[in-house]
C-alpha cells in the first residue's frame, strides 16, 4: 500500500509542477484536478471514506467553477523574465526552505514513535464514542459532539467567505 501511495504522491507532484508551468490556463486548472483526485485515492487507500467523499465532491465543484471562470476570462498566461528583485525573492525562498527543512528534521527526531503517547486521546474517542454520542459513524460523533466548536467555526468560515465573495464580486451597485 505504501508503494501505491508513493506512486500517487509522485503523480500529484508532477501534476502540481505542470500546473505552474502550463502556458494554457485551462490545462493548468485540469492539472490541479490531478492533485485533488490523487488525494481522493490516497484517502481511500488509507481507509478514510468520509474524507474521500468530501474531497471528491468539493474537487469536482471547484473544478467546474474554475473551468467556468477560465473560459469566461483570458486563457493565456504571460511569463516575464525575473529581474533583480525576483532573483532576491528566489534566494530568500531557498534559504527559508533550507532552514525549515533543518528544523523539520530536528523536530521529527524528537517526536515519540507514532501511536505511543501522542494518540492517547484517540483511544478514548474510539472506545467510548458509540455510548457517549449514540452515533455509529465515529467521524460524525467526533465532528459534531466532541469537537462541536471546530465544526461551528468551519461553518462560520464558510458563511464569512460567501459574504466576502458577494461583496467583492458585485460589479454593479444595488438600485
Amino acid at each position: 500500500m505504501e508503494t501505491a501511495i508513493c506512486i500517487i504522491a509522485g503523480l500529484m507532484i508532477i501534476g502540481a509542477v505542470f500546473a505552474i508551468h502550463a502556458k494554457d490556463l485551462l490545462s493548468a486548472v485540469i492539472a490541479c484536478g490531478i492533485v485533488g483526485y490523487g488525494l481522493v485515492i490516497c484517502f481511500l487507500l488509507l481507509k478514510a471514506p468520509d474524507l474521500a467523499i468530501v474531497q471528491i465532491v468539493v474537487e469536482t465543484i471547484t473544478l467546474i467553477i474554475m473551468v467556468a471562470v477560465v473560459l469566461d476570462s483570458s486563457r493565456e498566461e504571460h511569463f516575464a523574465k525575473p529581474d533583480r528583485k525576483g532573483y532576491m525573492s528566489m534566494g530568500v525562498a531557498l534559504v527559508m526552505t533550507a532552514v525549515l527543512l533543518y528544523f523539520y528534521v530536528l523536530a521529527i527526531g524528537m517526536l515519540d514513535p507514532i501511536g505511543s503517547g501522542s494518540l492517547r486521546m484517540a483511544g478514548h474517542y474510539i472506545n467510548g464514542a458509540v455510548e457517549l454520542t449514540g452515533s455509529v459513524n465515529l467521524v460524525t460523533g467526533v465532528v459534531f459532539d466532541f469537537r462541536g466548536y471546530d465544526t461551528l467555526g468551519e461553518a462560520t468560515v464558510l458563511v464569512t467567505a460567501v459574504l466576502g465573495v458577494i461583496t467583492i464580486l458585485r460589479l454593479k451597485g444595488r438600485n
Binding site: 449514540g134 458577494i166 458585485r170
Partner: protein, 145 residues
C-alpha cells in the same frame, strides 16, 4: 450563461433529481454511514449547478439575485447556533450538549442532536456553494445588460 444541447438537457433531466436525492440521503444518514452535512450539502449544490449549467441561467428565472440562497444560508447557520445554545438551557448547562435521548445506535432516529446538526449544516453548505456559483454567473450578466 446559455444552455447546452438537447442531449445534455435530457441527460440532466434524468440525473439531477437522483443527485439531489443522493445528497439528502448522505445528509440524513450522516450518523450511520460515511458522509454527513458537509458532503451531502455539496452534493445538493452540485445538482443545482448541473441544472444551471445545462439549461442556462434563464431556466431557474435567475434574473434577479442570489437573495434566496443567502437567506437560507444565514438562517441555517443561525439554527445551528440556536441548537448549540439549547444545551445551555437544559440541566447540563454545557454549550453543544447532546441533551435529546440517544435511542438505539444504528437506527435512523438516534444519536440525539447529531442528525439535526447534520441537516442544518447540510442546508448551510449547499446554499453557500450555490451562492458562490450564482455570484459568478449573475453579477457578470448584470454588468452586460
Amino acid at each position: 450563461m446559455k444552455g447546452m444541447t438537447v442531449i445534455v438537457k435530457k441527460t440532466t433531466q434524468l440525473i439531477a433529481g437522483l443527485v439531489f436525492l443522493y445528497g439528502i440521503y448522505v445528509t440524513i444518514h450522516g450518523h450511520l454511514t460515511p458522509g454527513g452535512g458537509f458532503a451531502g450539502g455539496v452534493i445538493i449544490a452540485g445538482s443545482f449547478i448541473l441544472l444551471i449549467l445545462a439549461f442556462g441561467s434563464d431556466f431557474l428565472r435567475l434574473t434577479k439575485e442570489e437573495a434566496g440562497s443567502t437567506l437560507y444560508e444565514n438562517l441555517a447557520i443561525l439554527v445551528v447556533v440556536f441548537l448549540a445554545i439549547s444545551g445551555l438551557l437544559t440541566t447540563g448547562r454545557i454549550f453543544f450538549l447532546n441533551w435529546i435521548p440517544k435511542g438505539t445506535p444504528g437506527e435512523i432516529v438516534s444519536a440525539g442532536m447529531l442528525p439535526l446538526y447534520n441537516i442544518f449544516v447540510g442546508i448551510e453548505v449547499a446554499s453557500s456553494i450555490l451562492t458562490i456559483f450564482l455570484a459568478l454567473v449573475i453579477f457578470k450578466e448584470e454588468l452586460a445588460e
